[in-house]
């Protein structure tokens, strides 16, 4: 690996492993500004950004965190992310966050917002209730009101009002970030061997703690540096899309295991919140209306959204086709109701389209990948061995 890329990879690895949020603290220090955390999936980060604060994605504690107090709050049949998040908070690691947003994703996160209230009565906590009614007059007006409240709250925490222009500017910044992320995904899908999953994921994941402008630059740099590595060659692998890990994140070791077992991951829903909105948000009109319309009309079809038709299945199939994938791996956290209840519906759609699939569950601190390797290996074997003939 060339030194420039190595430096970049070391940096994103550090950002990923740094549970103490050093970079957030440093940012606050240098900018004399505040930071607001949010749990996985969608929150309108533009509003936090416009208030001059740093939005910080809290994606659990991953594999590196020892859970002691966190387990005291959750039964064994609840997924892992809330316990590691509570552990992070109780051990003071989230003290640098001046507020915490809990987006509407499932009952666990919803209840966690109330727990936060009780455990940290002095801190700002907000449950972000997104509409499940997509009529601009009904759900839209509800959501605009929520956004306005959030805007007022953010201004209050930041200690400064901000203008619609500030907000429009932030919308532009995030539009650019989404474009960069899309470019990265496209490049990976074309030449997965150039962008090993562990690197690619960490580069994306860095968007949780970096300011968006910096993250955009990082992605662009990575795209260039990775291409200059000349020992990265195509392998006899199968191409797969993984789904289910939009909230609790699989350990990097698991992603590596998949790749080692012969699967190029060419599509995923990891850290989905960064890519929730599809396409650009209108940077020119009334910013809250623009954000609201984008949410209503251009959200990704995630498990936390009500969708009575077959849009979720179609979206998955489209992702398989667009990325030239040969199969789908359902990779959901244990006990994750939204992901696991969606699965049978998606399976039906895949079966209808004749797309092979396999499935397993993980938890963010899974340390043993033997079974997963076996499954993914067989899946990849079955795609490869028989397509050769």
């Amino acid at each position: 690996m060339k030194p420039a890329l190595k430096a970049l990879v070391d940096r994103v690895t550090f950002l990923y492993e740094d549970l103490d949020l050093t970079v957030v603290k440093e940012w606050k220090e240098t900018h004399r500004a505040k930071a607001v955390g949010y749990m996985p999936i969608y929150v309108p980060r533009e509003i936090i950004h416009a208030a001059g604060m740093l939005p910080v994605g809290v994606m659990g504690g991953g594999e590196g965190l020892e859970i002691i107090k966190g387990d005291a709050y959750f039964q064994s049949y609840i997924c892992h992310i809330p316990r590691s998040t509570v552990e992070l908070a109780l051990s003071g690691r989230l003290d640098c966050l001046d507020g915490m947003l809990f987006p509407s994703i499932c009952d666990v996160i919803r209840n966690l917002s109330g727990m936060w209230n009780m455990m940290f009565p002095d801190r700002y906590v907000r449950y972000i209730d997104v509409p499940q009614n997509y009529d601009p007059e009904v759900g839209g007006s509800f959501w605009r009101r929520e956004l306005a409240e959030l805007r007022a709250d953010m201004a209050r925490i930041a200690g400064r009002e901000f203008s619609d222009d500030d907000l429009r500017n932030s919308i532009r910044v995030y539009n650019e970030n989404r474009t960069a992320l899309n470019d990265l995904y496209l490049a990976r899908s074309r030449e997965p061997w150039v962008y090993p999953i562990a690197e690619m994921y960490l580069v994306v994941r860095a968007g949780c703690v970096l300011p968006p402008e910096e993250h955009t630059a990082l992605i662009r740099e990575y795209l260039q540096l990775a291409q200059r590595e000349d020992d990265r060659k195509d392998k006899d692998h199968s191409r797969v899309v993984i789904v289910g890990s939009f909230c609790e994140q699989p350990p990097v070791g698991l992603l590596k295991t998949l790749e080692r077992a012969g699967c190029w991951i060419v599509g995923d829903d990891l850290v989905l919140g960064l890519r929730w909105l599809i396409g650009d948000v209108d940077p020119d009109g009334d910013p809250l209306v623009a954000l609201s319309s984008a949410f209503l009309a251009n959200s990704t079809e995630a498990a936390s959204r009500y969708e009575p038709g077959d849009a979720k299945g179609s979206q998955l199939i489209a992702s398989v086709r667009d990325n030239d994938a040969e199969g789908v791996i359902f990779c959901a956290p244990s006990f994750c109701d939204p992901a696991l209840l969606d699965q049978p519906m998606l399976v039906t759609a895949l079966d209808r389209a004749g797309i092979p699939h396999t499935q397993f569950k993980f938890s963010e601190d899974t340390g043993q990948f033997a079974v997963i390797r076996e499954q993914a290996g067989t899946f990849s074997d079955s795609i490869r061995l028989w397509s050769e003939v």
Binding site: I68, K69, S76, G367, A370
Partner: protein
Amino acid sequence: MTDLNKRDIFIGIDLGSTTTKAVILDDGGEIIGRGITNSRSNYDVACRIAREEAFIRARFTLARNVMEADPLLSGLEGSFLPRLEDSFKQHQYLGQLEHLRQALWTAAGNARHFAYQADFRKLLNEIVDNMAATAPALFGPGAARKSDFFRDLAGAEYMQLAEKTADPKGINFETIVGAYDSAILTVENTSDEESFKSHIGAALDLLLDGGNGETPEQSDRLRAAIETARNYNLNELATVGTGYGRQRLPFPKEWIRSEILCHGLGAHAMFPDTATVLDIGGQDTKAIQVDDRGIVTSFQMNDRCAAGCGRYLGYIADEMNLGLHELGPLAQQSTHRVKINSTCTVFAGAELRDRLGMGQRREDILAGLHRAIMLRAMSLLARSGGVKDEFTFTGGVANNPAAVDALVDLVQQNYGSRRLNISPDSIYTGALGGALFAMRDYQGGQA
């Protein structure tokens, strides 16, 4: 006192998932005997055997008392009694070996072994002979035994011998081990009601004949002292049963007490300033808070998953072909602890093999496993209200020094400095609590 050779006693029995413990208190509340056995096979039998054991120990205690009271013997008990106990155990062991021989003989009678029955029996005979020959070494002065249970002690010897004598093409290892597996059950399930009476004489003879410098007069007095202990009338006034399997004890409902309360009270009796108790047994972990009278104020138990309890260590020990006693000390030699997240008991073996395969060192993996167990315990403690001062660690796993180290470390990290109480007899805490309840109930009933 009317009858000098009669003592009123109270009994507590803790029927645990792995071991069954019995404690005998005298009417002054002093512990005079403890007994322990495997719970594996049959609850009634386990209960009987543990009691029996406790009675045997009680008689040794009584012998000690008699010796202490006798000016001519006083001072001797310190050296004499341990030797006597070893000798007694050896006799007991030899008795059980003979029993095993018969059972193996029967097992070999199975139709499956018809073709080579005679050879098989001969081979088994040789194995048992060999075992009997090494018995003195097992019970010699200062010998370190891998376990206190016949099953494990004899099992380890047997496996070694089986491996040596097995012939892959003839009577193979599996066949020999199979015979043991079926034989051991019968041996284990037989309690020898008269064990003390029948073995103590021979044990005593062996010692006294060896001539250990006692004067003839002392010898006679010793015999008399043991005789007194043997014939002592232990008058059982009340019994309380507790533990995982307490519902299955052949006791009326009033005699049954929740193990939580018993552990709380037992720990309080052992260490009066106890505020928090952690008990890790074979299949469950309990975190208990008690007040200054030993009354439980809150408690938490592990949920349905048996991960991270004592049995987990058992599986690991089996897997490494180690005795439970050896596990902790080995883990303590670790220099680079491995981080382990899963404590699923069933997969413990697989995980171990995996990691060894990856080139990690045994002691480092073990250190990681011990820490993983204690992490789970810490969660329960946190759920029950934290670790207060003083903190008492009970249950079988408290015998494991690496587990204790990990606990001390984690408590220090999370709660700061706490006084930690551990007793070598901590495995008996529940039974002690039971016996105390028995005494209270009885005395309450009298009042």
